[in-house]
């Protein structure tokens, strides 16, 4: 494994572990004490998982920046495909909701955009990489 990838894993895993802990902590605190808190405190608590997510984002940006040219090309293709698929997928959901075919919970939709983007990016990257393998 190249040093770039070793650094990425060193940065990614603690950040994602921190995210899971902070996310569950934040949800638990909001459920138990949310009603007694003001808007500012509630907002801060709800947005707390964004701190470790920012660390994850930093690790991703650093690994892409230090990747070689083929890896960057694959990443670009994967990001473009993921953006299109997820963007158009959620747009279709919005159209179905506005046509009253389905009912959507706005907060659930907003929460699922990022995980959907990450998952689709992973699949698109595996697909884009295949073209350059033996």
């Amino acid at each position: 494994m190249r040093p770039v990838q070793q650094r990425y894993l060193r940065e990614f895993w603690p950040a994602i572990a921190a995210y899971v802990i902070v996310l569950f902590g934040s949800i638990w605190l909001l459920r138990h004490f949310g009603d007694s808190l003001g808007v500012t405190s509630r907002s801060a608590l709800a947005l707390l998982p964004m701190v470790p997510i920012a660390m994850v984002a930093r690790a991703i940006v650093r690994v892409i920046r230090d990747s070689d040219e083929l890896e960057r090309r694959i990443d670009l293709e994967a990001a473009a495909i993921a953006g299109l698929v997820v963007g158009l997928g959620f747009f279709s959901l919005g159209l179905l909701a506005s046509g009253k075919v389905i009912e959507l919970d706005g907060s659930a939709v907003a929460i699922w955009v990022f995980p959907a983007l990450c998952g689709t990016y992973g699949i698109a990257k595996a697909w884009a990489s295949r073209r350059f393998r033996e």
Partner: protein, 64 residues
């Protein structure tokens, strides 16, 4: 683009991983160049040429 990278690498007894390390790229990139699935950028082609002590046009041949 036709590439002689595999031939030159094997002549020196290097593995793809070793060549990748010398060029500061991934093994996947070296493999893609050798199998002619990826054409390297000009700076990378120059690095390859310098490493093998040859001119770019003796390593890569345009097939158009």
């Amino acid at each position: 683009m036709k590439s002689r990278v595999r031939e030159l690498r094997e002549k020196r007894g290097w593995s793809q991983g070793e060549l990748a390390e010398l060029l500061d790229v991934s093994r996947q990139t070296v493999n893609a160049i050798e199998t002619e699935k990826y054409d390297p950028s000009l700076p990378l082609a120059f690095r390859i040429a310098r490493l093998f002590g040859q001119r770019i046009e003796t390593i890569f041949e345009d097939q158009e």
